[in-house]
């Protein structure tokens, strides 16, 4: 191995040392994000109340009008869901 190859190897090693704590931090952030996503998507499937559920109530006034038009288009005169009473 010539000098330049050795130098390149040494620089790569040094860079890896430098990136070591950063890699952990990045992986942790990504894992936390992934955990939150999984919780929001699938928690109710396994019987855990969805923590995001309470906040979606705020969307109700914005969704109800579109929902009403959707069930009329589908040929349903009244809302098929008990929870949403648009008409």
């Amino acid at each position: 191995m010539n000098f330049f190859e050795q130098l390149k190897k040494a620089v790569a090693l040094y860079e890896e040392i430098l990136e070591q704590p950063h890699r952990t931090e990045l992986a942790r952030e990504l894992r936390d994000e992934e955990d939150l996503f999984m919780l929001i998507c699938f928690s109710e499937m396994v019987g855990i109340p969805n923590p995001a559920f309470y906040y979606t109530l705020e969307l109700y006034p914005f969704l109800v009008e579109r929902y009403h038009q959707w069930h009329l288009r589908m040929g349903l005169k009244t809302s098929p869901l008990d929870g949403i009473r648009c008409c």
Partner: protein
């Protein structure tokens, strides 16, 4: 005597220690098994538990443990002459620090990668958990106070270092964003940041207008500024307040924004510093002008205080936290522990060694050395300044102008100390929150309450001791307390390793003897200082703050020793882990 001999002998003994003693420890005492499935493989999660190349892990471990402390301690301890400090650094690294750092990695690896704190409560008992929490709390409090003082002192002594140090903050934030948000590589941006810092250092060394000299701004050291405070006291006060505000912000930000990018730059600084100093030493080969032993050092005896003054660089409990906190979770093979742990301690020993060499070669004559190190108080107050000047003199060996080198060395030491400071404030915040959870005081677990408490107590501690220059300048009085709490933690780790070895039916003397030595020196030093120096019973006046703090540490030491005797007498079956 030519100082190169100190480096050659030191390196040679380190090499022998690594080659023979650490090998004997690895094979006969810790009995490392290359086939043991380490936590990095067993619990591999891609985040904390990741098998890592041993060279990379060593580099990471070394840069995490090496900081300002192995520089400050030896710079003070040469007060007793170069020989005691030299011997303690060499022998301490080989027989205490190496075994301790190496042992804590092995102990943690054999305990599912758990930290020393968790292992303490398992081996010694549930009482030990709170005891451990209090020891770490005291240690981080001392670190905050001492390093705030160290940085303020360097800013006052070397005003040209202020600007390059403050430039590092926006540069680090820029690297943080570039690397984290734009997924850039960090090597080039961090080298560019380092180059900018050193350019600013060179300019600031030559342009007095860029040197932020508060003492001068307040009309000199003699001038009374406000509330009866003179220029120096007022400068200390202002720097300490600025540093504490900075710590508050830095320790509440996400680590990737400031702390980690600053670590990238500091890793370069560690390499640059060591290369410059050792290269300068080889070229210049200065004479040792300090005495071998200082017969005039009669105000404070080297025994036992030497072993408290040099903590990091000879043995440090803080390393155990790093070894068992992160390193053990990333160890690829158990046999790598010897290289990572023991050789990591040797790395820190080389830093302590160059600190001794810089201080003992600085002065032209023995008389100049004796004048600078006229008393233990003078050594405490001026030791670090002497290191910076001595290191700058070594750097002239590789054709760096002395005033530029002085600024750069001061910047390196301040950067190390600042990283230690804000990491330690962050750690203190976590501990306060944990205590809040433990004792059901909910408000303490809130980030801003815990951080305010950490910052205010640290500021109070560093401002209260009255030094020769008044208010705030007495922070160095806390250095022995810092050393003591650090040694105390090391003693606890050595105790855990000894109990583990005893329960395995192995020879535990290699860790037991350093433990007894460390505890004996700590108790001796604390009794001497608490009873004779700070209580008012001796020749000096009462120093209530140090008396109370020292008293608390002394009680903790005695408590641990009693627990240790208790744990040693019990012949429990190995409670540590089933798979050892």
């Amino acid at each position: 005597m030519n100082s190169i001999w100190l480096a050659i002998i030191g390196m040679f003994v380190f090499a022998l220690g690594y080659r023979f003693y650490s090998r004997w420890i690895a094979e006969k005492i810790y009995r490392l098994d290359p086939n043991y499935v380490t936590p990095a493989h067993r619990f591999e999660d891609g985040v904390d538990f990741v098998p890592t190349n041993k060279l990379v892990l060593w580099g990471h471990h070394f840069t995490s443990v090496a900081g300002a402390a192995p520089i400050v301690g030896p710079a003070i301890a040469v007060y007793w002459g170069w020989l005691p400090a030299f011997l303690w650094v060499i022998l301490g690294t080989i027989f205490a620090a190496g075994v301790h750092d190496f042992g804590t990695i092995v102990l943690s690896v054999r305990n599912k990668g758990q930290s020393v704190g968790t292992i303490t409560s398992k081996i010694i008992g549930s009482r030990a958990k709170n005891m451990f929490l209090f020891i770490i709390l005291i240690l981080v409090l001392m670190v905050n106070a001492v390093f705030a003082w160290v940085i303020s002192n360097l800013f006052i002594q070397f005003p040209s270092s202020v600007l390059p140090v403050f430039i590092q903050i926006p540069l680090a934030i820029w690297i943080g964003y570039a690397v984290y948000k734009r997924k850039a590589k960090m090597l080039v941006p961090s080298l560019v940041a380092l180059a900018i810092m050193y350019m600013v250092a060179i300019i600031a060394s030559n342009v007095p207008a860029l040197q932020i000299d508060l003492v001068k701004a307040f009309g000199g050291a003699e001038n009374t500024v406000l509330f009866g405070l003179d220029g120096i006291a007022m400068s200390f006060f202002i720097w300490i307040i600025i540093l504490m505000v900075y710590c508050y912000i830095a320790s509440t930000l996400p680590v990737w924004k400031l702390l980690q990018p600053r670590d990238f730059i500091n890793s370069h600084q560690l390499v640059v510093g060591l290369v410059i100093l050792y290269a300068g030493l080889v070229v210049l080969q200065p004479k040792v002008t300090a005495p071998m032993t200082n017969a005039a050092a009669t105000d404070t005896s080297w025994l036992p205080l030497l072993f408290i003054t040099i903590a990091c660089g000879a043995i440090s409990g803080f390393h155990g936290l790093v070894s068992s906190g992160t390193t053990s979770k990333q160890l690829n093979k158990e046999t790598d522990a010897r290289f990572v742990g023991y050789f990591g301690a040797v790395g820190e020993g080389t830093l302590a060694l160059i600190s001794i060499i810089a201080c003992v070669t600085l002065f032209a004559t023995k008389g100049d050395f004796m004048a600078a190190y006229s008393s233990f108080g003078a050594a405490n107050g001026g030791g670090l300044g002497n290191f910076v000047n001595g290191a700058a003199q070594l750097a002239t060996g590789i054709w760096i102008p002395e005033d530029v080198a002085r600024t750069i060395v001061a910047v390196i030491v301040v950067s190390f100390a600042a990283t230690t400071l804000d990491t330690s404030v962050r750690l203190m915040r976590y501990i306060i929150s944990e205590i809040g959870e433990e004792y059901k005081i909910r408000s303490l677990s809130k980030v801003h309450v815990a951080t305010s408490l950490a910052v205010c107590t640290s500021a109070a501690l560093v401002l209260l001791p009255k030094g020769p220059n008044g208010f705030g300048s007495g922070g160095y009085l806390l250095w022995p307390l810092f050393g003591t709490s650090n040694q105390l933690l090391a003693g606890v780790s050595l105790l855990l390793i000894s109990i583990w070895l005893k329960r395995q039916g192995r020879n535990f003397l290699p860790t037991f003897i350093p433990m007894v030595f460390i505890f004996a020196m700590t108790v001796w030093a604390m009794v001497q200082q608490v009873v004779f120096d700070w209580s008012g019973l001796g020749a000096t006046d009462t120093n209530l703050l140090l008396f109370i703090l020292g008293g608390i540490i002394l009680i903790l030491v005695i408590w641990i020793i009693l627990e240790a005797i208790n744990a040693f007498r019990r012949n429990d079956p190995p409670s540590v882990s089933q798979d050892m």
